[in-house]
Symmetry: C2
Subunit: 396 residues, 2 copies
């Protein structure tokens, strides 16, 4: 079932989903959650096959791929958590009553077909399917060959849940194949309305470079913490450390620390604490341009807030940028003039995340300026439609 | 000045604009309006040159190109009308207070740099510059060679107004050159954050096919009027006529009339009235697929609402679709299941327009599913930024 049958009708499934009620979609999500619990043994057996084939991979990769009974239970729980979120579909977000007398509502509707391209993480198969279904979108899932057996069983379970709930199984269609197959998919704008990469930087760059379908992704995460002249020292230390050390390999981790030149003692203290936490410090142009995604950080002094803003707008990738300051005017200038999806005052860059924002689960994060900027959750998986009532009115 | 100087700093101008207040931008708009009035003779002289060179063109094209004292006054009035609109920039559109204690605001900010590509209509030069400036975006204007003299003077006036108001003249930069120059512009994603075509179908299709910059445009306008079994006859006649005849050459004009097979008398009456209004009627597959943009209309009977919806989703281009019915359930199904930027109940498709929607001036119209769907006004010229305050908070 996960290998697409003769010709899966993903567009037709999307149209059918768009006409469903939230209750119908929630019922399908509950069927899917139950299906995951019911077929736990099958899922674990398939995952064991994938695990054997991946025996030569790095431990981090094998860990991401591996399921155990607890992780399978978490997959089902994640589906139920998505079902419990409010659906944005059908929400009226603007009402207009122009003088002609027509009554206009701007209503959220599903995007249509979402292509999700990801690496060897079986949880993405389930999360992406659940988020797309909740928002009444059909999805095409293109996972990693490394997780092919696991994904096949998971997709079967999801599609069976859809069918049991009276919804079209093709609403979740998985595709396999190598780089050429992916290239063909993303070369055709008719494949999907949007493509969302979940995974490493190389995958994102490939899609941003080659896709003819609009891509929602974070194009890099060269994030900064700027410690202002008016920074509170303890806050500066805590935020710089958290932004770098708490999880250095992710895109909202900070890569550069900038400290106002009027606070040399604070620069010294933060550097000492970073080094004590195992962070290697670097300096200079090349370091400023590097996304380490590791326990490594560029450090520099700046003469002014202006220089900090200029530096960040020059080297940053528009992802997440923080200022530590007790000076409200400096904070206001920083948040206004730094050009990024998320700007922080006295908080860690690591907060950029749908879950941390209280948006519920996210399917990705975007530094695009169009459509969605920041975490991509259910709302960002919708578009809008103007619904106009006119009592027979015509244009003069 | 309109021919770009050595290297215009459009990005720098965009950053500077993003930090301006609405009052500063409104002051510049007023300077521009005054400048247009003050330089009316110069503008008319340049336009006369363009008019002479275009003497061999069709009357409709020469009319679009031509300015007279009244039309120049209207250009200035349009700039003041844009200044009077509320600026969406800085508006908080969502507030989130997750359990971690961080305070999140989602704020509207300018898109950045907008590339506007258009035909020989001098008013677009002024309208586009005004809308971009009001929304704190820099713009690159690429007009038609046919209006080059007029555009050069108008751009000079706009840039002088910006400079007098203390804003960077490069915020409005015009570029000239032929097809190759345009191809080079749109091949580079760094040129602008979005490209908006204003003008004919061929221009739109060119951009949608070749641009590496996201395009906001209406990809065709094959619009329908469906007269339901439960239609009021007079409303059906009025709406079908208005949708086809009021201005047949525009993308929200209807191209196909579908009438429920249970109302043969109404089909006959509407066809007679259309023919009396000079509309040539057509039938069959090929007619259904054609955008006439003329006094020509495809006509067909459908057996049911379902068949009407299916027909529209098959042949339509997702622009503007209307149902005429007194049956609320039929209207609800139509508005939910027809996939288009705007769906109408008992109103003409011709209403799809920023001005008619009460959004103020529009810079274009979009059938894209991402970012903006429908009229593109000031709000659609913004993106968002998350501004987060944390009192020293870090991620657990």
């Amino acid at each position: 079932m996960s290998v697409a049958p003769a010709k899966p009708d993903v567009r037709g499934a999307a149209r059918r989903l768009a006409a469903t009620s939230e209750a119908e979609r929630d019922a399908a999500l509950e069927r899917i959650a139950c299906g995951i619990e019911l077929h736990a043994d099958e899922i674990l057996a398939a995952n064991a096959l994938d695990g054997e084939a991946a025996a030569g991979e790095r431990p981090a990769i094998r860990d991401r791929l591996a399921l155990d009974p607890g992780r399978v239970a978490a997959l089902a729980a994640a589906v139920r958590a998505v079902a419990a979120l409010p659906s944005p579909v059908g929400e009226t977000i603007r009402e207009l009553r122009p003088p002609s007398g027509i009554r206009i509502r701007k209503v959220r509707v599903p995007l249509g077909v979402v292509l999700v391209v990801y690496e060897a993480r079986p949880n993405v198969t389930v999360d992406a399917a659940a988020l797309c279904l909740k928002s009444a979108n059909a999805c095409i899932l293109r996972g990693s060959r490394m997780a092919a057996n696991t994904n096949r069983v998971l997709t079967d379970v999801v599609r069976a849940g859809l069918a049991e709930a009276g919804l079209p199984a093709d609403a979740v269609t998985s595709v396999e194949g190598g780089h050429d197959a992916l290239a063909a998919l993303i070369a055709d704008p008719a494949t999907a309305d949007v493509v969302i990469p979940r995974g490493g930087e190389e995958l994102k760059k490939l899609l941003l470079r080659e896709s003819r379908i609009p891509v929602l992704a974070a194009a890099g995460g060269n994030c900064h913490v700027y410690v202002d002249a008016a920074a509170d020292a303890d806050r500066a230390v805590a935020i710089a450390l958290n932004a770098k050390v708490q999880r250095p390999g992710v895109c909202n981790a900070a890569e550069t620390l900038l400290v106002h030149a009027g606070r040399p003692e604070l620069l010294e203290r933060i550097c000492a604490e970073l080094e004590a936490a195992g962070v290697e410090l670097a300096e200079g142009e090349e370091a400023f341009a590097t996304e380490f995604l590791d326990l490594k950080m560029a450090v520099g002094a700046v003469a002014s807030l202006d220089e900090a803003i200029e530096h960040i707008n020059r080297y940053g990738t528009g992802h997440s940028e923080a200022i530590v300051t007790e000076d409200e005017a400096a904070a206001a200038r920083f948040t206004s003039e730094v050009d990024a999806a998320a700007v922080y005052v006295n908080a860690s860059t690591r907060f950029t995340d749908g879950g941390e924002y209280g948006m519920g689960a996210e399917i990705g994060n975007s530094t695009s300026r169009l459509h969605a900027r920041g975490p991509v959750g259910l709302e960002e998986l919708t578009t809008t439609k103007y619904v106009v009532h006119g009592d027979g009115r015509v244009r003069a």
